[in-house]
């Protein structure tokens, strides 16, 4: 049965697709929620910031009025306007992607080196903690996928050996009597394709169940919020391509190995 290794591979492939979507989504959310605070003596535009570092892709000026009002409350002889005039300019800078701590520190240094910049706050500690967790999760997932791939490859090789043993004699006899390769490997192709179809259907069913039945009703917030990432119908194309490629390659390898070489 080629079904078991194929199933293991397809579930691995689907996990990979799901995790890729989840990490991309998480990265996007982290990126959107992260900003660097810059205090500048002079007004600055997004172009000025882009010139400092290409990773800066958005700058939002922080309104000073509210800050001036708060300060004026504690002062007797100073008006809001006077405080407003004395305050520097505040900006929240957003980046094009979620960078490592070193990347953020590099940008901070570049901004600090610019004329008129008084202060830069990267909230490095918080950023670093989130980034490390993100990297750790990625590492755990990749280790899992690598292990699963290794086990699956091992299972495929074992199955090919079983095929080799079971069909060697028949294929060699057929070749002696002039059967072309496709006819010799026809039985294997039929078995492989049936197993591939079954594996695709089972994997699809598992992930459709997870997305439409399990995730909406479970108490895990992450799954409830990200159920749309659990399965997409275009995944069926990727699963089919993977399954059929593996089957065709395995059958061809067994057929070539069973070929009575012309000495």
């Amino acid at each position: 049965m080629f079904l078991l290794p194929l199933l293991a591979i397809l579930i691995g492939v689907e996990f990979f697709l799901v995790f890729n979507r989840v990490t991309q989504d998480s990265e996007e959310k982290l990126r959107e929620s992260y900003s660097i605070l810059v205090v500048s003596e002079k007004p600055m535009s997004i172009k000025d910031f882009e010139q400092i570092d290409a990773h800066i892709n958005k700058s939002i000026p922080i309104k000073k009025e509210q800050i001036a009002k708060e300060i004026a409350k504690g002062m007797r002889n100073t008006t809001d306007q006077e405080i407003l005039n004395a305050l520097p300019h505040f900006y929240n800078l957003y980046l094009d992607r979620y960078l490592s701590k070193e990347g953020v520190d590099k940008i901070k240094k570049k901004i600090m080196a610019t004329n008129g910049i008084k202060r830069v706050e990267t909230f490095g500690k918080n950023h670093h903690a989130k980034y490390s967790l993100f990297l750790f999760l990625k590492f755990v997932f990749w280790s899992f996928v690598s292990l699963m791939s290794l086990v699956s490859i091992f299972l495929v090789i074992k199955q090919m050996e079983v095929w080799q043993m079971a069909h060697q004699e028949r294929m060699q006899v057929m070749e002696i009597f002039g059967a072309p390769m496709l006819l010799r490997s026809g039985v294997l192709f039929r078995m492989g394709i049936v197993d591939a179809l079954l594996a695709i259907i089972i994997t699809t069913a598992i992930f459709i169940y997870l997305r439409y039945d399990y995730a909406p009703n479970c108490d895990i917030e992450l799954l409830v919020n990200q159920q749309s990432l659990l399965f997409r119908f275009q995944d069926i194309a990727i699963l089919s391509m993977s399954a059929f490629t593996i089957v065709i390659m395995a059958v061809l390898m067994v057929t070539f190995k069973n070929r009575g070489s012309r000495e």
């Binding site: 028949r170 006899v173 057929m174 002696i176 006819l183 012309r262």
Partner: protein, 224 residues
Amino acid sequence: MGNIITASKMTLAYDNGRKEIIKSASFSIRKGEFVFITGPSGSGKSTLLKSFYGALAPKEGRLSVGGLDMTQISQKKLLELRTNMGIIFQDYKLINEWTVEKNVVLPLIIGGYGIDIQQTQAKKLLRHVKLSEQAERYPLELSGGEQQRVGVARALSKNPFLILADEPTGNLDDYSSNVIWDLLENACNQLGSTLVVVTHRIPTIFNLSYRHFIIENKGIYEVR
């Protein structure tokens, strides 16, 4: 009559040409002939037969089978040639997962013949080799003699122009051997096929009218 097999200064060798088995042999076999090739064990009888169905290409010289140059034959042409040959092996080489009937019609399956033709031919051949009752059984359920009769029926199923038999009675008792020899002789006479039999000794039931080659010291000589 034209030649079906022609060898000219042909050398056959294994191990990338290092181990020579047949050296500079020249002979020819004509259409419709029944030919015996004998020789002691390890003399190269099976190797010679292998070269006839293209499992071994000559190291030197020329070999032509059915008008095709076996030194330069493409894989496609080789498979085509084999579909028009009948080959019989000492160890039968039947497909054990297939029924007797399906084994018999293997050359017809390969040739893409319809199921009706396959069934008609299988019935005829199984009746001919007296195995009609065993059509739905599997090779391992049969005796050695019966398995070889299935092998003979398979070799005859597509009316081949050339039948190659490698020690066809090597594993059989005298009675079964005689049945096989009868079948082969009849096939040669009735179908007009060329029959090349490799065996360590010629059975006593045959008269000496058939051509006989002997392999000795890497050479092939005709016994007259």
